[in-house]
């Protein structure tokens, strides 16, 4: 009974705490509702795909895939190339994906093989692997590009003639996906004004009475994310998905049933890495600039924190967790600095607070998971007693 209660609390405590924090911080920040909704919609479009890419390795029992930054790096390499070749718009994005995919697959296979050698400590290994590959990535981008790997556009290169600049403008593909199907939500009053300014025809206008202000909705991005969710739903129903669930629960049983455990685990990581590659491309088309040496760094940490805030654990995560998490995490992200400034007069506090929360939440999730697992192990030991006792 107490154990059940504990499990329920442990299962939902994290989202609940965040709802409470937000409930205090939103009024403190003084942001308007329409501003918050606009910011949230943008961030959902920007981040959801990256977070969704984490689901499959969790299903396969490999924990939080800290190695997703590998995919992010692959995506960035694709973006650097399309910038160099000057391919813009949707074709540019597609091409970046095409370039990124094989790189992500190779990195994914490498990562999967490493993780198969480090069973039982996948997370810390994939985490360190992220740093290691970051070194290789920096070597490639900072020294090899423009030297061995041809980069023709001098605007991309550092003044010394090789190595890519710190910041690469992605103006060619900035928000192309978000604005592919331009959509605006506003009230009838605002709609009139909007049509007066922009003219009719080029926008999908959603009119909501009582709605204050106007909001742009990245509809195409949402469609892609929706499709991706459908993919995951479908994937769970396939034989491969079933095999991954089996491996996630008990590798040795899966192995004795003839499921190729190591191969399946590699497939899980490859899928995750490739999806993270696409996720990073979607993320960066929204941002519009690529911080060559930093963008990928925090992709992993923020995605993982968001997923955990959504109520996921190291061994269980759903699509709902992703969206609850992305909303709560970014709500806090938006309001924390402002709330901190209004409360203590120091915006910096809010900044640090959200960083603290991101790391703290991961720490707590990991602790809860290990705790629960050790307790379950104990329980499983007990169940081995057998007999009627």
């Amino acid at each position: 009974m107490i154990r059940k209660l504990f499990d329920i609390i442990a299962g939902h405590a994290v989202p609940a705490v965040f709802i409470i924090i937000s409930a205090f911080a939103i009024p403190l920040s003084g942001f308007s509702a329409s501003y918050l909704v606009q910011e949230l919609l943008t961030r959902i479009g920007r981040n959801s795909f990256l977070i969704l890419s984490l689901l499959i390795p969790i299903m396969a029992g490999m924990g939080l895939n800290f190695g997703m930054v590998l995919g992010a790096m692959a995506g960035q390499i694709g973006l650097i190339f399309i910038c160099d070749w000057g391919i813009v718009g949707i074709p540019g994005m597609v091409l970046a994906c095409l370039i990124g995919t094989p790189i992500a697959i190779v990195l994914g296979i490498f990562c999967g093989m490493i993780l198969n050698r480090a069973k039982g400590r996948e997370m810390v290994t994939s985490y360190i692997l992220g740093f290691f590959i970051n070194g290789v990535y920096q070597m490639t981008v900072l020294y090899l590009m423009g030297w061995i790997i041809p980069i023709t556009n001098p605007a991309l290169l550092l003044s010394r003639g090789y190595g890519v600049r710190n910041a690469v403008s992605l103006s060619g593909i900035r928000a192309v996906l978000d604005n592919l199907i331009p959509t605006v939500i506003t009230n009838p009053e605002g709609a009139k004004q909007f049509l007066n300014i922009n003219g009719a025809g080029s926008f999908i206008l959603v009119q909501l009475p009582f709605f204050d202000g106007a909001i742009r909705l990245p509809l195409a991005t949402f469609v892609i994310i929706g499709l991706f969710c459908l993919f995951i739903v479908w994937f769970r129903k396939t034989k491969l998905g079933q095999d991954m669930r089996a491996i996630g629960q008990n590798q040795s049983v899966a192995d004795s049933a003839g499921i190729p455990v190591n191969r399946t685990r590699i497939i899980a990581i490859v899928i995750s890495t490739v999806l993270a590659c696409y996720g990073q491309i979607i993320y960066l088309q929204n941002m519009g600039t690529l911080n060559t040496y930093n963008s990928h760094d925090q992709a992993g940490m923020f995605s993982i924190a968001a997923l955990l805030i959504g109520g996921a654990s190291v061994s269980k995560a759903s699509i709902t967790n992703v969206f609850v998490g992305v909303i709560l995490f970014h709500l806090m992200f938006i309001v924390a600095p402002m709330a901190g400034k209004n409360l203590i007069g120091e915006a910096q506090i809010g900044e640090y607070f959200r960083v603290f929360v991101s790391y703290g939440i991961i720490a707590i999730a990991l602790v809860l998971h290990a705790w629960k697992r050790n307790r379950e192990r104990e329980a499983a030991r007990r169940s081995l007693r057998g007999g009627e006792n």
Partner: protein, 566 residues
């Protein structure tokens, strides 16, 4: 297969196996026909599991140099290199440990890796693994397999919400669902079942056999074996002793065949009564025994008048796989007391529980004073020493040198091999450690390069000697030893047992030996207790004939025998 009427389903021809020069199976030949139920019985270490491993193509066989002899399936020679090959050939196996995924439903487990798939275009492009599962068809197949067994279990029930008995049925249902299964091995399937469940299972197995599936039933519950099987095979010391129709054997005879050695040969011509419990006259048996034994028994009786060295009352121990439910016994000072019984029945739980290594309850008195349970330190402080059955897991520091292994416990609990000021600053006395270790290396003939060699680099027998040395260093009043000869070669075996006897004689140390090998217990101990299903089935003087112990082990009641020792 038209000619299957004449050729047996499976034929074994001179199957044998050696592990590192240690012979575990020799010249096993028998046949199994379709629709036949065969009972395979034998003591622990008789070679049952090795035989199963060979038949099922377990990698452990191949990696240790394969096996001797030939296997014929439908008259064709086969050789399985992996369990998957055996499965493909139609051999199913239900292991003693469950091989189920806890968070999956019965259906998902029964059809694990054999799911019914919806065909799709994707599966042509990639592989079958991207097809979706046809859950309805799966459920139907699972319920069909479950109902064949004559039980009612919802196919949507999660495994981790099932009682243990259900899990066993799901395991068997999985093998039945395999369309090509023609030969089914069941390793102790009734061990975790209640009586009613076991009955249902036996009926279901008979039904299965009628449909043409051959079944090999491995169990220590001899009455079940006798009731269910057509033929009974008895393995002993790696040899096939008996291959006889079940009708011609009584449970008592089976038990005798399993354990009996020299004593059996002596008594073989004697008609063994069908129901021994009431009829065995203890005094008579004692009379038959040689005079030396008689003297020993008298001595025992003398010892008994003193306060017992160890008194155990209603002990329970929660040791996984070796649960002790309710055990009471007394050990006299200076006695060598044996604890025997089949694996999994709790004999190992008793010493582990007394030493505080697993959660335990009940009352344990040491020389009349109560011993705190669940605290290894308390047991060690009361001058008890323990040699674990899990040598590599509990008994040794494999990555540390021998002197650490031998002196560590004494250092930590008795403050020896240290110099400095107690409680403030005490350093290891490496010299004293090495000297003590050298002493034992010599005395026990431990083959090593010196006190600084890592324990992990020694052979099994020498490791066991290190474990003994570790216990001797403690200068114990009571020494508890589990499986003293498991996994070591014959030469080392004798030395270890002789050392124990000698140590007992020289120091008057009370020794409690726990072993699966009955002969070993009988040769070393004064008295032997047999544990069955977590309880003491009986305590007999070691001089009693082996089959009496055998009957106790097989769960046959033997009130008269246990009463005799009182």
């Amino acid at each position: 297969m038209p000619d299957s009427i004449n050729t047996p389903l499976l034929r074994l021809e001179n199957i044998g196996k050696e592990y590192y020069g240690n012979r575990v199976l020799s010249e096993i030949s028998f046949e199994i026909n379709s629709g036949e139920i065969i009972g395979l019985v034998g003591e622990n270490g008789a070679g049952k599991s090795t035989l199963l491993n060979i038949l099922f193509g377990m990698p452990v066989i191949n990696s240790t140099g394969g096996h001797e002899g030939n296997l014929y399936l439908d008259g064709k020679k086969v050789n399985f290199n992996s369990p998957n090959q055996a499965l493909a050939a139609g051999i199913g196996m239900v292991h003693q440990e469950f091989s189920l995924i806890p968070g999956f439903t019965a259906t998902e487990n029964i059809l694990l890796n054999r799911e019914v798939l919806n065909g799709s275009l994707m599966s042509y492009v990639f592989s079958d693994r991207v097809s979706t599962l046809d859950r309805d068809a799966m459920r139907q197949r699972a319920s069909a397999a479950i109902s064949t067994l004559g039980v009612h279990i919802s196919p949507d029930m999660l495994i981790n919400e099932m009682p243990v008995g259900y899990k066993q049925f799901i395991e068997i249902a999985r093998e039945i669902d395999r369309k090509n299964t023609r030969l089914l091995f069941l390793d102790e399937p009734t061990a975790v079942l209640t009586e009613q469940e076991a009955e249902i299972l036996l009926i279901a197995l008979k039904k299965l056999a009628k449909s043409g599936i051959a079944i090999v039933f491995i169990s220590h519950r001899l009455s079940e074996v006798k009731e269910l099987c057509d033929r009974i095979l008895v393995l002993r010391d790696g040899k096939l002793i008996t291959d006889e129709s079940a009708e011609n054997l009584t449970t008592r005879q089976i038990a005798t065949l399993m354990v009996g050695r020299e004593s059996l040969r002596k008594e073989e011509p004697v008609e063994i009564p069908e129901n021994p419990v009431e009829e065995v006259n203890v005094d008579e048996t004692l009379g038959v025994a040689p005079a030396g034994d008689d003297v020993e028994t008298k001595m025992l009786k003398k010892k008994k008048k003193k306060k017992p060295a160890l008194r155990v009352e209603h002990l329970w121990v929660d040791m996984p796989g070796e649960t002790v439910r309710d055990v009471s016994f007394e050990v006299q000072k200076g006695e060598i007391f044996g604890i025997g019984g089949l694996a999994g029945h709790g004999k190992l739980g008793i010493p582990n529980g007394i030493m505080g290594l697993y959660p335990a309850g009940g009352k344990v008195k040491l020389f009349g004073k109560k011993l705190a349970l669940n605290k290894p330190r308390a047991a060690l402080n009361r001058k008890m020493a323990f040699v674990s059955e899990d040598r590599r897991g509990v008994g040794l520091l494999l990555d540390e040198p021998l002197d650490w292994n031998i002196t560590f416990t004494a250092m930590q609990t008795q403050g020896r091999f240290l110099f400095g000021i107690p409680f403030i600053f005490q350093m290891r006395n490496e010299l004293a450690m090495a000297n003590e270790t050298k002493k034992f290396i010599e005395a026990l003939e431990i083959k090593c390069t010196g006190p600084k060699q890592k324990a992990g680099e020694l052979s099994g027998g020498n490791q066991q000697k290190v474990c003994l040395a570790k216990a001797f260093v403690l200068r114990p009043d009571i020494l508890l030893i589990c499986e003293p000869t498991r996994g070591i070669d014959i030469g080392a075996k004798t030395l270890v047992l002789d050392t124990l006897k000698q140590y007992n004689k020289e120091n008057g140390t009370t020794i409690i030996v726990t072993s699966s090998e009955l002969e070993e217990l009988r040769s070393v101990c004064d008295r032997v207790a047999i544990v069955d299903e977590g309880k003491i089935a009986g305590i007999l003087p070691a001089s009693r004939p082996a089959e009496e112990f055998g009957m106790l082990m097989m769960g046959e009641k033997m009130r008269a025998a246990s009463a005799a020792t009182e």
